[in-house]
């Protein structure tokens, strides 16, 4: 007990020095935490995607459509539990910089597949009833201050014209990592309009979403679906939603490596800072450690004193760093909300923070511990202040 008390007191003997060291650990962990949170946000769509869903698209490219008639044939494939479809609409709200994802979807079948999105029953009914109705994610509605009943106009880019919609519902995610920034309206509304204005583009689907009963059979089901349309004028590629999303967002290996390298460099710098602080403090107190040894304090107690002090300092930095990561991420997420639908600090980031701090604390103490253990008492006592 007494040893712990001493090492705590030692850690805060030079308040400024210790404070600055803690600050640098805090900043490093903050940078590390934000970096990881951004990457996680980037990949959150992948994490959130369900293993129970497949996506079918045109084999040539996602920008080429598939006939609507495929839906009945897909539904008959063994193991398929539901089929929905939609188009990327690509509408612009007032200005390009107000970017958000907007889709035309077959609403009923779509929300049957996306059980992780919840809509209050009355809103859902109102949305299904209104041909021009749309549903917005909670965050999206908050971002623009939309209320139920508001009329919103999107300027079509892929489908020209000004398109008018009425907000009928707001959906929420059941899980924290759900994307609450999407705008969805009735595919029928888009299709009816196209029939009048551009009949050749009608009855064309951008993608099919397919529910499967058994994720373990995802591969064989995908193969069966693609086999159906082999050698037709619109061949398909079917893959899991996860693979599909990953195809969009995956960063290059180079970027990932660069980020890992930066994290590593940050840790090395912090190690240098802490090691310097500990080495300085221990050197100044050589005489005191000599006294401890003179009194009969053995190796493990000396190790405990020095190592403990080092770890106390890094763990203080760790605690402050973790505490700062949450509000910083929240602020960052708010500022970047349009680009990152989900911005949460992961438990794994916190665990890594703690592990790194511990490792740095231990490594920083290695040399001072070694020197102190090796020091001859008589020499240590000779060093007066």
């Amino acid at each position: 007990m007494q040893i712990i008390k001493i090492l705590f007191k030692n850690a805060f003997r030079h308040k400024l020095r210790t404070g600055l060291t803690i600050l640098s650990i805090t900043i490093a962990l903050l940078a590390f935490g934000l970096l990881r949170t951004v990457i996680n946000a980037w990949y959150s769509g992948v994490e959130a995607s369900s293993a129970y869903r497949l996506v079918t698209r045109n084999a040539v490219s996602i920008i080429f459509p598939l006939p609507l008639s495929y839906k009945d044939r897909i539904r008959q494939v063994d193991g398929v539990s539901g089929v929905s479809w939609g188009n990327w609409f690509g509408g612009v709200y007032i200005d390009e910089k107000n970017f958000f994802a907007n889709f035309a979807v077959d609403a009923k079948s779509y929300f049957d597949l996306y059980r992780e999105y919840t809509i209050p029953d009355d809103q859902k009914a109102a949305f299904f009833r209104d041909r021009k109705g749309f549903v917005a994610g909670r965050k999206l509605a908050e971002r623009f201050g939309w209320k139920i009943g508001d009329t919103i106009v999107l300027k079509g880019t892929i489908f020209p014209g000004n398109w008018e919609f009425v907000m009928r519902a707001i959906y929420r995610g059941r899980e924290a990592n759900a994307d609450e920034t999407v705008f969805m309206f009735h595919w029928d509304y888009l299709n009816e309009s196209l029939k009048k204005t551009a009949p050749t583009r009608a009855d064309q689907v951008g993608f099919y979403m397919i529910g499967v009963k058994d994720p373990g059979r995802a591969v064989s089901i995908s193969e069966s679906i693609d086999a159906l349309f082999k050698n037709s004028f619109a061949e398909t590629i079917t893959e899991t939603e996860k693979a599909f999303t990953l195809g969009f967002v995956a960063m290059s290996d180079t970027i990932i490596t660069a980020i890992q390298l930066v994290s590593f460099v940050v840790i090395v710098i912090i190690l240098a800072v802490v090691a310097n602080t500990v080495a300085m403090s221990v050197r100044e107190r050589t005489n005191e450690y000599a006294v401890f040894k003179t009194l009969g304090f053995g190796g493990w107690r000396i190790v405990g004193l020095i190592l403990g002090e080092s770890v106390v300092i890094t763990m203080m930095g760790c605690a402050v760093g973790i505490a700062a990561t949450y509000p910083a991420s929240a602020a960052f997420g708010k500022a970047m909300g349009a680009y990152f639908p989900v911005f949460n600090v992961e438990a794994e980031t916190i665990v890594l923070d703690i592990v790194f701090s511990l490792v740095v604390g231990v490594l920083a103490a290695v040399i001072p511990v070694y020197r102190t253990l090796k020091m001859k008492i008589a020499d240590g006592l000779r060093m007066i202040e």
Binding site: I6, L295, G296, G298, I377, A378
Partner: protein, 233 residues
């Protein structure tokens, strides 16, 4: 070893090496210290007094020779055994007190007891007793920076006696004190020797301090003179 001898030193040699140079410090030193003796080691600076004291106290190792204290030849002990032995058998008093600045007087005195199996309340009783002996029971919660030099040295003496060691070693215990404080410290040492029959080995430059000792030995160029017995009464 004669009955009543507590320390027996035989053919002790010690030299230091600097580069390929060998600096002999102690050569062929042999003498005994009787139980309850108050020995003063004197001699010019650099004559090897601290070196000899450190060897007796088990914080340094000789090149050759033996030092038997009680019935243990400390020169044969390993580092770990020595640490354990010191904790039980030696009380240290340094010139610059060497208190731990972040600990109170009480906590400083308690330090050596942390290595014993004593309970917290037993430790407390021992510490209070030791501080009472040195007359600082009312300064228990003071930090070293809040004490005068003389008081600091008394706390250091309390720390040295709290484990009731076999021998007390002191390296110029009054070297950093004014005359009055030095006198108080010497009176305290004298009392410890007289009342508690503590064997004390003290290095000093101060003839006034040496007066309290029963035996004075002079060290010069690594050679020890014969004992110079004096009547302290």
């Amino acid at each position: 070893m004669d009955a009543g001898t507590i320390v027996s030193i035989h053919k002790l040699c010690k030299s230091y090496h600097r580069g390929d140079q060998t600096i002999p410090v102690l050569s062929d030193i042999s003498f005994d210290i009787a139980e309850g003796e108050f020995l003063a080691l004197m001699g010019p600076s650099g004559s090897g007094k601290s070196t000899l004291l450190n060897l007796i106290a088990g914080i340094d190792q000789p090149d050759s020779g033996s030092i038997v204290i009680g019935d243990v030849d400390v020169t044969t002990l390993t580092e770990t055994e020595l640490a354990k032995w010191r904790a039980l058998n030696v009380g240290f008093i340094f010139q610059f007190y060497n208190l731990i600045p972040v600990l109170t007087a009480f906590e400083n005195v308690e330090l050596p007891l942390l290595l014993t199996p004593l309970s917290r309340s037993e430790r407390k009783a021992h510490v209070e007793m030791a501080l009472r002996v040195v007359g600082l029971a009312d300064r228990m919660d003071h930090y070293p920076s809040q004490l005068s030099g003389g008081q600091e040295q008394r706390v250091a003496i309390a720390r040295a006696i709290v484990t009731d060691p076999t021998i007390l070693v002191a390296d110029e215990p009054t070297g950093d004190l004014d005359r009055k404080s030095a006198e108080e410290i010497m009176d305290l040492m004298d009392r410890l020797n007289g009342e508690s029959k503590k064997t004390i080995i003290m290095v000093t430059h101060d003839p006034r301090a040496a007066k309290k000792a029963h035996v004075i030995r002079h060290l010069d160029k690594g050679i020890l003179t014969n004992a110079d017995h004096q009547d302290t009464l």
